[in-house]
């Protein structure tokens, strides 16, 4: 019995548990008639390694696990770890001096932009071209927006999808694609949806935010989650306004008729890609400026110590509402583009799972780090699309969500600041963990002063 308490037993136990979970997670699904099938066949199903060595899946994965553990053990117990550490130490200063130089940064960004621009001409597979817009570029846009709320202001908004939905449905509405009549019974060009949606979204953001942004962080999360759910309920049930669960009618594509400039977006995703890319670049510039402005610094101050921030004249509620509204506006933007690009929209896209997906992108990339969020979104979305396009055996599209959930936990345990963190965020997290900074998250409001 004592043995079960020992550290070795615990470690082995965790490894075995991890192995079991991963095996089931990546294995074949269950089904209605035999719900336990998924569990059993994850271990018993026969798989083969490139046609050779057929073996039960459980055994195969055990072998893979064993190899990984062995490799890690060898790495840790031999000179290998020391050598890698040494190499990192010699490379790190040189790497830093290169990345700090502003001119090199500019070149780097120009290069990335160049690649982004020529990408649709290099990748011509129709699946990927469509995915580039609706699954990658749009998600990057959304992630950058949520990063302002979660990363800059430190507010957990789980109802982000609601603003996205409002943007999309506004587009449908003003172009006359909803049962609800377009304003003044005049079908507008889809581009007009942008300012209208922004206004609607910001109003709803402020209306939601003013009463709720005073709440503690975890309560805010639940309330925003509820708000997202309410919007979904309304979308699904107000048939006469939103088209209910069947959704909208056909939405006309974007078009510009400004004097000599005439362009109609059509079914081809590539023009939409460039439209979205344009907005992404715009947002990147604007939000980067925001981060290094007085507003950005106020957010940092509120995040680090709200009471001290108040004492130097910063109004926390005002800046939180600003962040919320900006995040909502970017979601609204993305919604308008989605509305214009998709022929039809319906409520199934706009669920809590969507909000969580965007959250994963922000957390994985690095909350508060614009570059991290972009890189993180690109990585996750590209991998997801790849898995959907060429699924490995037994993979269902919805399995992705399982991996994302596990990823969130893993990130919090191992690298809470993200894969490309903002330096300041990483410093803040380290400070809280070391106990040298107060944990502002559960918002010690101004009524909790210090004792007499």
């Amino acid at each position: 019995m004592k043995f079960l308490q020992s550290p070795t037993a615990k470690r082995w136990g965790s490894l075995i548990a991890l192995y079991a979970v991963v095996t089931v997670m990546t294995g074949p699904p269950g089904n209605q008639s035999s719900p336990t099938l998924g569990f059993t066949s994850s271990f018993s199903e026969t798989v083969s390694f490139f046609g050779l060595f057929p073996a039960p899946r459980g055994l195969f994965l055990a072998g893979v696990f064993g190899l990984i553990i062995g490799a890690v053990a060898i790495y840790q117990r031999t000179a290998l770890q020391g050598m890698v550490k040494q190499a990192r130490q010699t490379v790190a200063p040189r790497y830093q001096s290169v990345t700090q130089r502003k001119s090199l940064r500019g070149v780097f960004y120009a290069l990335v932009l160049f690649v982004a621009i020529i990408l649709p001409h290099v990748v011509t597979d129709p699946f990927w071209q469509s995915a580039m817009v609706s699954q990658i570029a749009i998600y990057v846009l959304l992630a950058i927006g949520l990063n302002v709320v979660v990363g800059f202001a430190g507010l957990l908004d789980l109802g982000f999808v609601a603003f996205y939905a409002i943007g999309a449905y506004t587009t449908a509405w003003i172009t006359g694609a909803l049962p609800a009549a377009a304003p003044f019974h005049h079908h507008l060009n889809a581009f007009w949806a942008i300012p209208i949606a922004i206004v609607l979204v910001m109003i709803s953001g402020v209306v939601l935010g003013l009463p709720t942004l005073r709440l503690r962080g975890d309560y805010l999360a639940i309330v925003t989650l509820g708000f997202g759910e309410i919007v979904t309920i309304f979308l699904n049930n107000l048939y006469n306004i939103t088209g209910g669960s069947t959704g909208s009618n056909q939405i006309p594509h974007f078009s510009i008729h400004l004097g000599p400039v005439k362009y109609v977006w059509g079914l081809d995703p590539v023009p939409y890609y460039y439209l979205t890319l344009g907005f992404v670049v715009l947002f990147l510039i604007v939000f980067s400026a925001l981060e290094h402005s007085r507003v950005g610094r106020s957010w940092v101050a509120i995040r680090e110590d709200e009471i001290a921030a108040e004492s130097v004249g910063i109004n926390p509620l005002k800046y939180k509402v600003i962040a919320f509204a900006i995040g909502a506006a970017s979601a609204g933007f993305a919604g308008v583009i989605t509305g214009g690009q998709s022929l039809f929209i319906n409520p199934t896209t706009f669920t809590l799972a969507f909000s969580i997906n965007i959250l994963v992108l922000v957390i994985f990339g690095g909350m508060g780090s614009i570059i991290g969020v972009v890189v993180g979104s690109l990585i996750i979305q590209t991998i997801s699309m790849y898995l959907i396009h060429t699924p490995p055996a037994g993979f269902q599209n919805s399995d992705l969500y399982i991996y994302l959930g596990a990823l969130l936990i893993a990130m919090m345990i191992f690298r809470p600041a993200g894969i490309w963190p903002s330096k300041r965020r990483r410093r803040e997290i380290v400070a809280v963990e070391a106990g040298t900074a107060p944990d502002q998250y559960n918002g010690q409001g101004s009524k909790n002063g210090e004792g007499a």
Binding site: P29, T212, I233, D399, I402, L408, N442
Partner: protein, 320 residues
């Protein structure tokens, strides 16, 4: 203006007529909410954390008891004594599965963060991740349809209270709910274990200096909350069947109930659950089915804005 009044008067008429059935139904649902709310409230008490994954604890209890009931009952009709046994086993199965999942979540998603003294935001995100993970894993493994659970007894109306038929299932929910809540209350206020839980809820650092094993106490808190939540899943499943999404809405409402009664306050969870169940039930007279969720949400927002400490006030530190 007249239309406005007639709308309300017709709805009040429905309420008046259906009052007792709605009340009974509301109380039964309310007990389920209370049992789940306990899980939220206890974990919040000791960790100051909303355990998002509690909805999956509820769901796990539902599925575990579903499998057990399916295996036991099959397609036969059990005798009276067998029924009682099956129900007890169902409650146990649900409770144990719930407790197991809750403990696993604590071990995997929260304890490593405690070791590192992570900021609270990290716990919340980890909780969301755990919930999402379990939710989608259940979808994968169990499929997406609703499995009806054949109750191991004939669910006829036991008696009639005013004009409300009170069904066997409602009585069962009331009885199990009362027993468990009462038992837990005794445990927390009288036993040594309960004292350590209350101590950790009040001041974890001091408690550990006094010799309380924090890890174990927190684990037990999750186990207890998980047991009640899982058992509630069984009761819920008997009425509505089990499906991978079953945890989401009831858990959100249970959280509302916990806040309504006073987060961290055990008796508050009971009161909040019953109150919310009844309010929600009565609102059926006024709004269409799907919109009752909106009503619950509105209650949550109102409570948080007007009296965030809830009806009975926050505390796990005191016995009440």
């Amino acid at each position: 203006m007249g239309g406005f009044f007639s709308y309300f008067s017709s709805h009040f008429a429905t309420l008046d007529h259906e009052f007792w059935p709605l009340l009974v139904g509301g109380l039964a649902t309310g007990f389920i909410y209370s049992m789940v709310a306990i899980g939220y409230t206890m974990v919040y008490g000791v960790l100051r954390l909303i355990n998002f994954a509690h909805s999956e604890v509820f769901m796990a209890g539902g599925f575990a008891s579903f499998f057990l009931t399916k295996w036991l009952v099959g397609s036969g009709t059990p005798s009276a004594w067998q029924s009682v046994l099956y129900v007890v086993l169902g409650v146990l199965a649900g409770g144990l599965a719930g407790a197991a999942i809750a403990a696993a979540v604590e071990r995997v998603a929260y304890r490593p963060l405690r070791r590192r003294n992570a900021p609270k935001l990290a716990y919340l995100i980890s909780a969301i991740g755990a919930s999402y993970f379990l939710f989608n894993l259940a979808a994968k493994e169990f499929g997406r349809i609703n499995f009806a659970m054949s109750p191991p007894f004939a669910n006829h109306a036991l008696f009639t209270f005013a004009n409300a038929p009170v069904q066997m299932l409602d009585v069962l929910t009331l009885v199990v709910g009362l027993l468990m809540l009462f038992g837990l209350d005794r445990l927390v206020s009288k036993s040594k274990l309960g004292r350590s839980i209350r101590a950790v809820a009040q001041d974890a650092e001091t408690a550990s200096l006094m010799g309380v094993n924090i890890d174990r106490t927190i684990a037990v808190t999750f186990l207890l909350g998980g047991f009640l939540g899982g058992a509630a899943g069984y009761l819920f499943g008997l009425k509505f069947g089990v499906v991978y999404t079953m945890g989401f809405t009831p858990a959100l409402k249970a959280f509302t109930a916990a806040v309504l009664g006073g987060i961290g306050n055990l008796r508050g969870a009971l009161i909040g659950g019953l109150l919310l169940g009844v309010v929600e039930s009565m609102s059926v007279a006024f709004v269409n089915g799907a919109f009752t969720d909106v009503v619950s949400f509105a209650v949550l927002v109102l409570v948080l804005l007007v009296r965030p400490t809830g009806i009975l006030g926050e505390s796990l530190g005191r016995a009440a």
